[in-house]
């Protein structure tokens, strides 16, 4: 079955927002804007030169996916341990997560995209809900200070540009869909909106102090005076975005390996080896 263009675009949106939420603590408005411009330039260049056809590009994407999978598995495990499963050990969380990642990735690209599409409706609904319920907590005086203020613009921008290029490399070369600037602008707009929402509620100083600022703003919310502790809404948002990012990264690795390993038996051995390697390395990082 062919993958629709909209499905590719939605997947791109979800993965970008996921990486944005992961990096939000270290970002400023200026670094978000510059990183978006730089990554757009890179994508244009990538498309113009048709780099995705080269073997070296495919190999590099596989290596980047592997690094992202290792480091982000560590990040998401810590996130789950901090916010959802507080009583569980890191090993149990990362092992369960790895099983779920391997399960979905082995189902194939089409199934994966369909699952992401389903989850996207839910995620977009959650983002809109989050905007609605946090509006009363916006303090405009937080925006009167210099919101472009930054500590290390170069470092922030370089790291985040890399994070913005990655979803493109992960999704578009696989799906044969032509990249559209409008998709990019929608994700940029969402990044800026979420960032401004957080800054207007927490202020610049607190935004850089809290580990998960997007979740922290929900800790302040109390609906009708009795519905509280709705941090689970943004937590789910984080969880889905991170999970799909990891699944797609793993799928990229499998996809590259299947180009060279034709026998199913050998590929299965490689999969088991990968599973153990990722699990052990992610534990070592922790």
């Amino acid at each position: 079955m062919k993958i629709k263009k909209i499905e590719t675009r939605i997947t791109y949106f979800i993965i970008t927002i996921g990486l944005f939420l992961l990096n939000i603590k270290n970002l400023t408005l200026l670094s978000i804007i510059i990183s978006n411009i730089l990554s757009l330039l890179f994508i244009f260049l990538f498309e113009k030169l048709n780099l995705s056809k080269f073997k070296l590009t495919k190999f590099l994407i596989m290596i980047i996916s592997f690094i992202y999978l290792l480091f982000n598995l560590n990040n998401i495990t810590i996130f789950i341990g901090d916010n959802i499963l507080r009583e569980y050990s890191i090993i149990v969380i990362s092992l369960t997560l790895l099983f779920l990642i391997f399960y979905l990735a082995n189902k194939g690209y089409h199934t994966l995209i369909k699952v992401i599409l389903l989850a996207t409706y839910f995620i977009i609904f959650l983002i809109f809900i989050s905007f609605l319920i946090t509006i009363p907590y916006i303090d405009l005086s937080n925006l009167t200070i210099n919101i472009f203020k930054t500590n290390n613009l170069f470092k922030e921008t370089i790291l985040y540009t890399f994070n913005l290029i990655y979803p493109y490399l992960l999704i578009y070369p696989l799906s044969n869909t032509k990249f559209k600037v409008s998709d990019f602008l929608v994700t940029t707009l969402f990044q800026i909106l979420i960032y401004l929402l957080i800054i207007s509620i927490l202020g610049l100083t607190l935004e850089s102090i809290y580990k998960y600022p997007y979740i922290t703003i929900f800790k302040k919310v109390s609906l009708f005076g009795f519905i509280e502790r709705i941090e689970i809404i943004p937590s789910l948002n984080y969880l889905f975005c991170f999970y799909f990012l990891l699944v797609l990264s793993y799928y990229q690795i499998l996809n590259y390996l299947s180009l060279y390993i034709k026998k199913d038996k050998n590929l299965n051995i490689i999969k088991i080896f990968l599973f153990l390697l990722i699990f052990l390395v992610s534990l070592a990082i922790q």
Binding site: D82, L85, E87, T96, S141, L202, G203, L206, I209, Y210
Partner: protein, 297 residues
């Protein structure tokens, strides 16, 4: 193979492993902290779940000492033989012994503790032990809530405000409470440059204007013997968005014995407000009022 995989996943995702009985939790609703000879003294009001028949929330107070906050919490957990549960923390009481260094430790403790939320009130009191023993957190919270809402004679400060002001290097304002025969407010304490300073009386109202925390309050002016102008400030907003300080008030005239017209009332109110606010800021102050009520007799 698939069935085995599903079985392994099911074993791992069961939620019973982390299950804790309610009896094994020490639910803390109030914490009092003071520092004495380089040691922290922590007073905690813990919900007593053994008393089931009472309509009120029965609590027992405990006292522990230690060199750091984490150590005290561990000590408390050990002495109670229960897991400390601070999700329902509603009040933190500190006294003048808590200075910048201690405040930073307290803030770090709560920032690193994902269980607690930073929406609980923080108050200053120099008699923490008695307050924790004799009073319920609800009475103190209600006192501050009602006072800030109806008279603007205190400042409702949550842990979140303390964290924000601490890192923004701004002054921290804490409601001050005293316990005589009953509990009452004793102005506010301003924490600035590692020192506490008392602010009392009408100054709190003007400070509230400056912090944009005015809810409602009453203003009275004596024009002649036994003749009063009595105003109810229903709503107020202080805007910092422009270079000047823009204050908008919605005022209702309750008593106008002096027979002043609208302009005169506005003039009296604005002059008083401006004079007091000029002590707090160098900015140009603009006041816009909407006055309604019986001002034309």
């Amino acid at each position: 193979m698939k069935k085995l995989l599903i079985l392994i996943i099911i074993i791992f995702i069961t939620g019973c492993d982390s299950y804790i009985e309610l009896n094994d939790l020490a639910i803390i609703n109030t914490i009092g902290l003071e520092k004495e000879n380089n040691n922290y003294k922590l007073y905690a009001s813990v919900v007593d779940i053994t008393e089931k028949e009472s309509l009120d929330i029965p609590t027992t107070s405990y006292q522990v000492t230690g060199t750091s906050l984490n150590q005290i919490i561990d000590n408390l957990s050990m002495s109670l033989n229960k897991k400390i549960y601070m999700s329902h923390l509603n009040l933190l009481i500190i006294n003048d012994s808590i200075k910048t260094k201690e405040l930073e430790e307290i803030i770090n403790f709560f920032l690193n503790n994902n269980e607690t939320r930073e929406d609980f009130l923080v108050v200053n009191c120099n008699n923490i032990k008695d307050i924790i023993k004799k009073m319920k957190f609800q009475e103190i919270n209600d006192l501050i809530e009602n006072n800030s809402r109806n008279a603007s004679e205190t400042i409702k400060t949550t842990m979140y405000d303390v964290i924000k002001n601490f890192y923004d290097k701004k002054n921290i304002y804490l409601p001050s409470i005293i316990l005589d025969s009953s509990i009452s407010l004793d102005g506010i304490k301003e924490f600035k440059n590692n020192k506490y300073k008392e602010i009392k009386g009408e100054d709190i109202i003007y400070l509230n204007y400056f912090l944009n925390k005015i809810d409602t309050y009453k203003y009275s002016y004596t024009c002649d013997d036994n003749k009063y102008l009595y105003l109810n400030i229903l709503e107020s907003n202080t805007s910092f968005l422009t270079k000047e300080l823009l204050i908008t008030n919605e005022i209702k005239v309750i008593t106008n014995d002096c027979n002043y017209n609208k302009d005169k009332i506005e003039n009296i109110f604005n002059t008083n407000l401006k004079t007091n606010l000029e002590k707090l800021t160098n900015k140009k102050i603009t006041i816009k009022n909407t006055i309604r009520g019986t001002y034309e007799n």
